[in-house]
């Protein structure tokens, strides 16, 4: 970013420069959206610590980075290069993106039911797909885009575009890998996903953000999910970005009657990572279950924002998040449950537990309930503390070394959240990563309690 330009100006310049070469430029329906988003972005500007949603997460660091927008996939990869990263042995389909763009030769959709449409967003736009025009932005209930959403939309480029027609059920998971690779200067990517499950459709989706680069980069992603009546989606996401990376994932979920969503995020990587879930039910008897695990060590901020809305009666939601902080790691959890006046018989629960392993770690947690209906059962519970000395004692009394005992307890703590995931390799991977991270961690044992 040139010194003279303020962050907003810097990004406006990026948008202006990239505009003509973005896919579908010149198509009125798309131009209109991109322009509106660009205007919205310019009008909004970046949030500050005074913005309640950003109270504990400074974005100063993000804005200081002179990110470029280089719209180019890294193609020089073979299957063997990504083999070790993959989580699903026999996926129904696999999409691999590098630096924000689909790499066709690493991707396959051969195993999919022919009625299912899974293509890159870019391809969908270039084919002039009405599907994108019809559904893009529909899952975003407040049609006003937030700053990072607007930035994503203004630079709308590539991502996953999945449509599962009514009654079709995909047994094996679809795997999506976002790889940042071979970057020599700080780059911003804007993955955009559009996932639509029609009535009674069901699928499993496993996403992973990973990297093979040490460079700083910024993934500013936006995912829209629309579930039709009785549709079911299981959605597991592993955020394992590079140590210097910036990561923003906003997920908008709109659920029709009796649909079910189970989402999991494991947030482990990046120097600055934020995941937002915005969920809303449009009709009764739908259910949404969100779970998450976060780990932050030295130089890491991990931030999770949940905005769970109950605008209609008889839906239930459950949010369960756990995290472990070491070194100078910092975590933020802001979870809001909103129940409007007529949403009777809502059941919504949120829990958040954080383990602090070091003296300099910090957690800021803010669970909120906004309830306007009386016949509801809503609760939240939060705990922050260190490893239970009694549990440690129990393990040590059985001859287990202190270090091992601590690690066992940390893994057990994480597994309580991870176990809701139905992809075994996902859980194993997170466990491995966690063990690896814990190996470098000095766990403070200066407890007198």
């Amino acid at each position: 970013m040139s010194e003279a330009l303020k962050p907003v100006e810097h990004y406006r310049a990026l948008i202006a420069a990239a505009g003509p070469s973005l896919p579908g430029a010149g198509q009125p329906w798309l131009d209109a959206r991109r322009q509106a988003a660009a205007a919205r972005f310019a009008e909004q500007g970046f949030p500050t610590r005074k913005t309640e949603e950003w109270r504990y997460s400074s974005i100063g660091q993000v804005l200081e980075q002179p990110f470029r927008y280089r719209d180019e996939a890294f193609e020089a990869l073979t299957d063997s290069d990504i083999e070790d990263l993959l989580l699903v042995e026999q996926p129904a389909a696999r999409l691999v993106f590098t630096n924000g763009r689909l790499v066709p030769h690493l991707s396959t959709t051969d195993g999919l039911d022919s009625a299912v449409s899974l293509i890159s967003l870019r391809a969908a736009i270039e084919q002039g797909s009405e599907f994108v025009d019809q559904w893009l932005g529909k899952a975003i209930i407040d049609s006003d885009l937030e700053t990072f959403e607007a930035l994503n939309t203004a630079l709308l480029n590539d991502g996953m575009c999945l449509h599962i027609p009514a009654g079709v059920s995909i047994e094996q998971p679809i795997e999506v890998l976002y790889l940042s690779v071979g970057l020599d200067e700080p780059n911003v990517m804007t993955p955009r996903n559009l996932i639509v499950l029609d009535r009674g459709a069901s699928a499993r989706l496993v996403e992973q953000y990973a990297s093979t680069t040490d460079a700083a980069y910024f993934n500013n992603g936006l995912t829209e999910i629309l579930l039709g009546e009785d549709a079911e989606l299981e959605h597991d996401r592993l955020q394992d970005e590079a140590a210097q990376a910036y990561h923003m994932s906003v997920i908008h979920l709109a659920q029709a009657a009796r649909s079910r969503y189970r989402g999991m995020v494991a947030s482990l990587g990046g120097t600055w990572a934020r995941t937002e879930y915005h969920t809303a039910f449009s009709a009764e008897e739908a259910g949404c279950e969100l779970a998450g695990f976060y780990f932050a060590g030295d130089g890491q901020l991990t931030d999770i924002h949940l905005d769970v809305r109950h605008p209609v009666p008889r839906c239930n939601s459950e949010q369960k998040f756990k995290g472990i902080l070491a070194g100078r790691g910092k975590a933020v959890l802001d979870g809001r449950i909103r129940v409007v006046q007529d949403a009777q018989q809502t059941e919504a629960h949120l829990s958040n537990d954080t383990l602090l392993l070091s003296r300099n770690a910090e957690v800021d947690t803010k669970p909120q309930l906004e309830i306007f209906a009386d016949d509801v059962k809503c609760s939240h519970g939060t705990t922050v503390g260190q490893l239970d000395p009694m549990q440690l004692f129990y393990l040590r009394a059985r001859g287990i070394q202190a270090d091992t005992a601590r690690k066992m307890l940390c893994l057990g703590f994480a597994d309580e959240v991870l176990e809701s995931c139905t992809v075994p390799a996902f859980i194993e991977r997170v466990d491995q990563k966690l063990q690896h991270r814990l190996a470098d961690v000095h766990i403070d044992t200066t407890t007198s309690g």
């Binding site: 770690a361 800021d364 059962k377 609760s379 519970g381 007198s448």
Partner: protein, 481 residues
Amino acid sequence: MSTGTEQVDELIRQEYEHGFVTEIESETIPPGLNEDVIRQISARKNEPEWLLEWRLEAYRQWLTMTKPEWASVHHPDIDFQAISYFSSPKKKDGPKSLDEVDPTLLETYEKLGIPLEEQKALAGVAVDAVFDSVSVATTFKEKLAEAGVIFCSISEAVQEHPELVKQYLGSVVPARDNYFAALNTAVFTDGTFVYIPKDTRCPMELSTYFRINAANTGQFERTLIIADDRSTVSYLEGCTAPMRDENQLHAAVVELVALEDAYIKYSTVQNWYPGDEQGKGGIYNFVTKRGDCRGRRSHISWTQVETGSAITWKYPSCILRGDDSRGEFYSVAVTKGRQQADTGTKMIHMGRNTRSTIVSKGISAAHSSNAYRGLVRMAPKAENARNHTQCDSLLIGDKCAAHTYPYMEVRNPTAKVEHEATTSKIGEDQLFYCRQRGMSEEDAVSMIVNGFCKEVFQELPMEFAAEAQKLLSVSLEGAVG
């Protein structure tokens, strides 16, 4: 559930019991706020120069500040120029005994159930009655003086004990703390001052009844309580106000200082005029209350029962500075009609082994809105600090709202923070169980709601527990339909 509807409606419609205006001549500065008004207030109260300077400094600060917008309350803009900042019941000389007090005033107290004549006979409750902005009668002074306790109006303290006032005033809530605190600092007219000397247990419960009177007079009370080493005091504050059509602003500041091993228990029953069914009238209660546990093992406990006011904006807080110090916050907030309450606490843990407990019970009915907003901060040095927070909300009717906004900031790994919050309505099964045993719905609801609040009520001194339960029954019994 429809059988109780009529009773419910009747109770909800019930008019404010304490709504009456006492005709009494007031000596009032005309509405408006500027440096001259502040100089006038200060001059009338015969204040020393440093206090005037402090007020003016606060006023200048206030001019640069903006009204807080974060609370979940809504009200029309307050016209600070339309408020009269000083109103004192007219008197020629200060009354030396109750006989000299204006009989109309005494009548007012009687209507409120605080007959001053009987005060001395009452079991150990000394009342420093603040009628509008100037204390006119203080009782039990001799007995307190024997123990070395200073219990007087803050204006009196400024004259009699300037060194104590100067040392502690503004040391817990600085002038620039927030918008309303700055305003209070600039224009406060009266309030209570308490000093408990070392090694002293205050011989009786101290109590002040605030009462707002005289139309268009905002109340800007200032309370300062200092408990010196190893002393103990329990302070009660209760409020009622006459019915009125215009919104009245009340922006008090309460500062508590607990030194080593001192214990301050501060209890409030707040029952100001909440406005009519449509939300017209009613008091705006924007209060800053903060306690500072300065010494080792200091202990401050806030208990509040908030049933009145159109808007309540109030966060009694504890700064747990001293090692092993302790803070508590017990609250019952009841809203009905169009009332809005945004209340909670802050527990700032700075010392080692500090402990805090938060128990908040919110009950919302009709079109009201009730929010708990709290902060628990564990500073890096708060070794082995503990907090437990419990917030429960009860919703009565489908037009009301209950919100919970807890903030937890933890910067010490040995600290332990626990927070639980629930929101629900009165359980059908509980009601059924009671009714099955022959209780009327009215009694069942009353019992369940009282049970819901019990944890807080039992923290109140006995004198207040009765009033609190009565208030609750007036406000809510049968409000379930």
